[in-house]
């Protein structure tokens, strides 16, 4: 799936002053590619990735997913569930649910699988990342690396065509960081469109394209 940004503009208002963080962004994110977006803090990287995820409204412009426009909360929610996997630095797991229940959350909306199939499928994904003994643990009982692995399994569980990650390794040690980058690389190799916002220069070694966001403009280097 491709993501086409056309003249995307976003401004924030702070203390009565308007600040333009994205200024007429035009870019086409393709499948089978690992993109990294870099830039200074406050440059609008997270804003851009959240706009691409359909969870933040923009002032003007258009986003096309596979040349199709998605409008409204229902359509965008469906798109996120079926076609977009999201990862954040803070993992964003539900503390009241076990690891497996957190991963099952996006699957609850999938009507093509039975309950048993869903559970078996999720268990298999946990074992791939050597997490099978942690499925009944609550997030607070997991380390940061383990929580991010749960978040990663959840992001990939519906086999999304697009993976968007905002500083996914920000809280991880080197081993976990490498593991996350390798998995995302693998996903890009499998035909996915992977877009990662990161400050970590090591990610460049895994990326197909490195983009910079500066003064509201996105450019490739």
């Amino acid at each position: 799936m491709t993501i086409k940004l056309q003249n995307i503009k976003k401004t924030y208002e702070k203390d009565g002053k308007k600040k333009c963080v994205l200024s007429e962004i035009n870019y086409m994110f393709s499948e089978n590619t690992f993109y990294v977006i870099m830039g200074k803090s406050g440059s609008g990287k997270s804003t851009l990735i959240n706009i691409m995820a359909g969870i933040l409204e923009f002032d003007s412009g258009e986003i096309l997913y596979d040349n199709q426009k998605y409008v409204g909360d229902s359509m965008l929610s469906k798109l996120r569930n079926e076609s977009i996997g999201l990862m954040y630095q803070s993992y964003l797991l539900n503390d009241n649910m076990t690891a497996i229940e957190n991963v099952l959350l996006p699957l609850y909306l999938n009507k093509n699988m039975t309950n048993v199939q869903k559970i078996n499928y999720v268990k298999k994904e946990f074992s791939k990342l050597k997490m099978e003994d942690k499925i009944m643990n609550f997030p607070k009982e997991l380390s940061g690396g383990e929580q991010q692995r749960v978040a990663l399994i959840r992001a990939l569980i519906n086999n999304p065509k697009i993976i968007l990650a905002d500083e996914p390794t920000g809280n991880l040690d080197k081993d976990n960081e490498r593991m996350v980058f390798e998995i995302l690389r693998q996903e890009a190799n499998n035909g996915k469109c992977v877009v990662v916002v990161s400050h970590n220069p090591k990610i460049i070694h895994y990326a197909d394209a490195v983009l910079y966001l500066n003064n509201g403009e996105l450019y490739e280097k």
Binding site: N50, L79, N81, Y88, S90, E101, Y108, L109, N115
Partner: protein, 391 residues
């Protein structure tokens, strides 16, 4: 392990203080409505039956202008087609002590009414036809203490065994007579007192002639039994009559008080419940912002998330309705002994759970829940997911 939406709901229900508090308030409101409306409905039903069938509520006192016209007025009234019976007070009522029922806690005193025939609903036996026969009520309690408020329905005497027998009575408290019990009438809707039995006018006249020959009637006061008390107005204007006054009027304020109190309490509770649910749910949604945001991130629409809240409160509503119906049923079943214990009239009201009360309670509960939840769920519409992601 469940892997469907119910698991999300069960994660919340009964584990949230909000649900428990809302359920408790809902139950209080629902019980108020169920008991109040059922009580009101039962009283209304009782009054309707009572007023439609009662002998006593069709009695009126006619006051003649003076003694000179009283006799001619008496005959004039007797010929009126709406009037079933005409009598002077002392022709109508006397008393006797039922000697079989003089016990430690009751003194056996019973009023004897001299009445026309076929004005009572006979349950067992037959109506008065012969002289020196009488009928007594199903709620028979030969005890003048009922006037002092110590009436206890548990002491009601079952007269079935005495049917057809002569009962020993001290007429006027001092003249031994026997009256044959020929029938037992329905005291639940057609009686004045549980210690009142009825004989014919003729019997009472004979008894008075024999034992109270010097009885002086006040002929200015004439009692009439109408076919319908509302027809009393048809007798006026009449130059010989000063006024006509019904002997008994329905104390409908008992019912009106019940529905009035129910209405006010329910209204206050409804407003409190609305504010409570709104405040609690707003606070809860704010506390659950992160989890709501997570649902949104993985593809749940806001509409869907709202549905989850609605579903949760539908469970709360259903459980509260079931519980409050049980509690209300229990309260109503014991209501008579709690509140209506001392009143011979009201103790016979059959207070039971009214289907209309259940429907109204359900509707009121749904409306309040719907309004308060809808208002508080507006927070989800205005939610900024970005804030929770980077909080």
């Amino acid at each position: 392990m469940k892997s469907n939406l119910n698991s999300i709901i069960s994660k919340n229900i009964f584990k949230k203080k909000t649900d428990i508090i809302v359920m408790l308030f809902l139950i209080i409101l629902q019980i108020t409505l169920l008991v109040g409306i059922s009580y009101f409905g039962s009283i209304q039903k009782f009054w309707n039956n009572y007023s439609n069938n009662s002998y006593d509520f069709n009695l009126a006192l006619v006051t003649a202008k003076d003694e000179n016209v009283a006799e001619s007025l008496y005959h004039e009234l007797k010929n009126n087609s709406h009037i079933k019976d005409v009598f002077y007070y002392d022709e109508f009522i006397s008393f006797g002590v039922f000697t079989d029922y003089v016990k430690d806690n009751i003194n056996g005193e019973v009023e004897l009414f001299g009445t026309v025939q076929n004005t009572k609903k006979i349950i067992i036996g037959e109506d008065i036809s012969e002289p020196y026969t009488m009928i007594c009520p199903t709620n028979f309690l030969p005890d003048s203490l009922i006037y002092s408020g110590t009436y206890d329905v548990k002491n009601i005497v079952n007269l079935t065994d005495k049917l057809g027998e002569k009962i020993s009575i001290n007429y006027g408290g001092k003249h031994p007579i026997n009256l044959k019990l020929v029938g037992i009438f329905d005291g639940s809707y057609d009686f004045s007192n549980p210690n009142a039995c009825y004989v014919s006018h003729e019997t009472l006249k004979k008894l008075n002639d024999q034992y109270q020959p010097d009885l002086q009637f006040n002929k200015k006061n004439i009692y009439i039994l109408l076919d319908d008390i509302n027809n009393a107005n048809l007798l006026m204007p009449n130059d010989n009559i000063i006024n006509i006054r019904p002997i008994k009027t329905l104390k409908k304020e008992v019912g009106h008080n019940a529905i009035g109190i129910t209405g006010i309490v329910s209204l206050i509770l409804s407003v409190l419940l609305f504010i409570l649910i709104y405040a609690l749910l707003c606070r809860r949604i704010k506390n659950e912002y992160k989890n709501i945001g997570i649902l949104s991130l993985v593809g749940y629409s806001k509409k869907f998330i709202k549905k989850l809240y609605y579903r949760e409160f539908i469970f709360v509503l259903l459980i509260s309705l079931v519980l409050s119906n049980f509690i209300a049923y229990y309260i109503l079943e014991n209501f008579v002994s709690w509140f209506l214990f001392n009143s011979p009239l009201l103790s016979l009201i059959d207070v039971s759970l009214n289907p209309i009360a259940i429907i109204i309670t359900g509707i009121v509960s749904v409306i309040i829940l719907r309004m308060s939840i809808k208002k508080s769920l507006n927070l989800i519409d205005n939610m900024n997911i970005m804030e929770l992601i980077y909080d």
